[in-house]
């Protein structure tokens, strides 16, 4: 089995994220890191491998600027055998639709049996890339999976949906996005960190994987951010002193009632 794990470089959780008012895109000049949800996907891949399935290789795949190489180094330090970096100026400003298409193309060139990814990125929080990629690849898919068992060419997955927990059987090849409850990612060992730079890293441009330039980037995107605005200012809250507790409680209940919270 060949597992591809989609990973993304995102602003570190500690960075106060801002939108560049000119480009209306996220200002990515601050510290960056491997998307934390993707570490769960990598761990899930490692657990499939260590759980006795015949995994011939785990490949970390990303799309992003030059700096994304660091995210790939992290991914291989966490266990991936090699990595693929799709990078091309034409990809800049791709929306979900264009990104999903581009990632599907690069995955197609790898021919994986299982594609894993984190359910959301820390910056975009779109929750959708997995399902977009799956449709392009014509593979079954599930998102927000919190438990995954492999038996032969079948996965048994669990996740929380609208009405409770669903258990779903999925035939491979498949695309699965995982939630952070699925596992506790390991720390990379120092040896693995040092070895990361020596593992193969393929850099690919769009032409290498048959991506049509018109389908990606600004040109290929089907959405456009028209305007950014501040959320409506919240009204200042009402503050009361508790002088007579019975009266206070009455006021609280009235407030809750008014907002249909009881």
């Amino acid at each position: 089995m060949k597992i591809c794990v989609l990973v993304k470089e995102v602003p570190d959780a500690a960075v106060d994220k801002r939108i560049d008012p000119e480009t209306k895109r996220l200002d990515r000049s601050g510290e960056k890191n491997l998307n934390p949800f993707d570490t769960h996907a990598l761990e899930a891949a490692m657990q499939v491998k260590e759980g006795g399935s015949d995994v011939e290789e785990i490949v970390a795949v990303t799309m992003g600027p030059d700096s994304a190489v660091r995210a790939l180094h992290k991914a291989v330090a966490l266990g991936a055998d090699r990595s693929v970096h799709l990078t091309d100026a034409a990809l800049e400003n791709s929306d979900v639709c264009a990104t999903g298409y581009a990632l599907a193309k690069v995955l197609e060139s790898e021919g994986p049996d299982l594609v894993l990814l984190g359910q959301q990125s820390d910056d975009g929080e779109c929750y959708t890339i997995g399902a977009v990629v799956a449709d392009h690849l014509k593979m079954p898919s599930l998102t927000q999976v919190i438990k995954m068992d492999v038996a032969g060419d079948k996965l048994t997955c669990e996740r929380q949906a609208e009405y409770g927990y669903d258990t779903v059987e999925v035939e491979l090849p498949a695309v699965i996005s995982v939630g952070d409850a699925i596992n506790e990612p390991r720390y990379p060992s120092l040896k693995a960190i040092m070895g990361a730079k020596k593992k193969p890293l393929d850099t690919k441009a769009i032409g290498d994987v048959g991506i049509e330039a018109g389908q990606v980037g600004t040109e290929g995107s089907q959405t456009t951010v028209l305007e950014l605005k501040a959320p409506p200012a919240k009204e200042a809250g009402e503050i009361i002193e508790d002088e007579d507790t019975n009266e206070t409680v009455e006021k609280i209940v009235a407030w809750l009632d008014e907002r249909k919270l009881i």
């Binding site: 500690a14 106060d16 510290e31 506790e184 120092l190 040896k191």
Partner: protein, 565 residues
């Protein structure tokens, strides 16, 4: 009567706990050529210089193996734990990168104007003539957090491995020869137990080890004990708290202030001052530095900086601005006499702040650390070529250099003007302006932790935070990018039941709200109180080590993520 924190020493014996032999079996060890502890200006300058030298020494490079140079950095990246003013003297950058123009350096601007003021509660009196030690003309304003990232990139280009998120927890010593370091474990729970994702540390065995740990070096402290290298005077520290502000009007000069809100007079020993530097057109930084030999247990450098910002002179500078970064760090201020007896032992050299290479009156240290790193690289290459681990030539290089010259020249500032960063040569001017009223008092030369602490009134004038202009500590810690795992073991060693004065000292001193006295004990007025430690707030400034505790290293990657302080 007060109590000195030193009466309650931390439960730790660094030489025993943090010095060990090699324990990993041979196949599990990580073999590197040179192990550099600390991705700061000193360690990374050393890595860069080693890379440059090894390009001309293929034979030695070959012998150093697959990883000729490894930099072990506990922060998420080099720079994550770096904080300084910073006005940098350009000599080391010029030496290290002769082909780079200053416009390619990670600096904001060259300093063209500077000014020093003595503050009273309402006024700002310019000190003229400008005290020579405050002259910064020709220096460059930089963010050392950015400088660290820049130098890491350069070092990596030259083949160094920068192992970030890795704590150098123990020094490996065999037959009194330093053999490398052992990295810290990861994935331990609150009680030290191994969690599901536990990853043990590794022995990183090196032919040469460079300690460039910065202020309050964890392994440096252990090494000084183990090899009996302490200098003739104890090390002393100052604590600096700094904020970066986005502003609408560019600041046209470098500013230093003395006086208010620090109290004059011997009783409280509050010596220090503030710095305000432009960072390009749209930002400035403002920081307050105070010697940790103060004696009011309620004094808080964090809150004194907030108080400083209420001064009309300062308020004007920040008007309409927004705080975008915050951090805190100690500065070794012992100077020349606090340097260790020797700067090398077989297998190891020490460079930069961790061995007191700070020119206190001139507020300079970055370029000394870098020069020392460069010397360390040169000596290591020279010795390793001869197959020797004797790096005494490093000491000779330092002693012949501007580091020795500058530090020696200012060595006696410690006697009459022993009061640290901001006072030094400026005192004469201050005395002129105030006709002798400032600074007054008497001078002591004790260890910071040996000062008796009393419950004074410093905290009474601290402004109430609005978290827009005046901030509380938790808000500040948040801005530092600190998101340390809550269930990690406590890395701060203190006695957890101490007299109120000592506990209050820690509570107030810590800029990150790590220490707390339980509310009921606070109210009851008990003489002995418990100290509750929230270690995950810690930004590793190191003040606790100066003032009666011991900071050890948490899991690699923990602590702040400074980006531009």
């Amino acid at each position: 009567m007060g109590h000195a924190p030193s009466e309650f020493p931390p439960p730790v014996n660094p030489a025993e706990e943090f010095v060990t032999g090699i324990t990993d079996p041979e196949e599990e060890r990580i073999e590197v050529g040179v192990a550099i502890v600390g991705g700061g200006p000193g360690g990374l300058a050393c890595a860069v210089r080693l890379g440059q030298l090894l390009e001309g020494e293929p034979e030695l490079a070959e012998r150093l193996g697959e990883v000729p140079v490894a930099v072990i950095e506990k922060g998420k990246t080099s720079g994550a734990h770096l904080l300084s003013g910073a006005n940098m003297r350009p000599s080391a950058m010029q030496e290290l990168f002769p082909d780079l123009d200053p416009s390619d350096w990670p600096v904001y601007q060259e300093v063209e104007k500077d000014a020093v003021y003595l503050l009273t509660k309402k006024a700002a009196l310019p000190l003229k003539p400008m005290p020579p030690n405050f002259r910064n003309h020709g220096n460059y304003v930089t963010s050392v957090a950015k400088l660290g990232r820049f130098l890491q990139e350069k070092a990596e280009e030259l083949g160094a491995y920068v192992l970030s998120e890795t704590a150098a927890d123990k020094l490996l010593v065999e037959d009194r020869i330093v053999r490398g370091i052992r990295s810290g474990d990861k994935g331990r729970g609150k009680e030290g137990q191994e969690l599901g994702n536990f990853e043990p540390g590794s022995d990183v065995v090196a032919k040469a080890t460079v300690l460039a740990e910065g202020t309050l070096g964890h392994l440096t402290g252990a090494a000084l004990d183990y090899f009996d290298l302490h200098g003739s005077e104890p090390q002393r520290w100052e604590l600096g708290v700094k904020e970066v502000w986005e502003i609408s009007e560019p600041l046209d000069r470098v500013i230093h202030t003395m006086g208010w809100p620090l109290r004059k007079g011997a009783r409280w020993n509050e010596f220090g001052g503030s710095f305000i530097y432009p960072m390009g057109e749209d930002k400035l930084c403002i920081g307050l530095v105070v010697g940790l030999d103060y004696t009011d247990a309620t004094f808080s450098c964090h809150d004194a900086l907030q108080e400083l910002k209420t001064h009309p002179f300062i308020k004007k500078l920040l008007d309409g601005g927004k705080r975008v970064a915050w951090g805190a760090k100690t500065i070794p201020s012992g100077g020349y006499w606090s340097m260790p007896k020797r700067l090398s032992v077989p297998g190891m050299v020490m460079a930069g702040d961790c061995v007191s290479m700070v020119n206190v009156p001139e507020l300079k240290g970055i370029h000394y650390a870098m020069h020392a790193g460069i010397y360390a690289a040169e000596s290591i290459v020279e010795s390793l070529k001869q197959d020797s681990v004797n790096f005494e030539s490093y000491e000779r290089r330092v002693r012949k250099s501007l580091i020795e010259e500058d530090l020696y020249r200012s060595r006696n500032m410690r006697q009459p003007f022993s009061k640290g960063f901001f006072v030094g040569g400026a005192i004469a001017s201050a005395m002129t302006v105030t006709k002798g009223a400032f600074p007054g008092g008497h001078w002591s030369s004790e260890d910071d932790a040996e000062h008796e602490m009393v419950l004074g009134e410093a905290s009474e004038s601290y402004p109430k935070p609005d978290n827009e202009y005046i901030f509380d500590k938790l808000n500040s810690v948040f801005l530092s990018g600190n998101a340390t795992r809550d269930d990690a073991p406590n890395h701060i060693r203190i006695q957890e039941r101490v007299p109120r004065e000592v506990a209050q000292t820690w509570v107030s001193m810590c800029p990150a709200q790590v220490y707390e006295i339980p509310e009921d004990q606070l109210e009851s007025g008990a003489d002995m109180v418990d100290v509750h430690v929230t270690a995950s707030n810690c930004v590793q400034c190191g003040a606790i080590t100066a003032k009666g505790g011991r900071l050890t290293l948490p899991e690699g990657g923990d602590g702040p993520l400074y980006q531009e302080v």
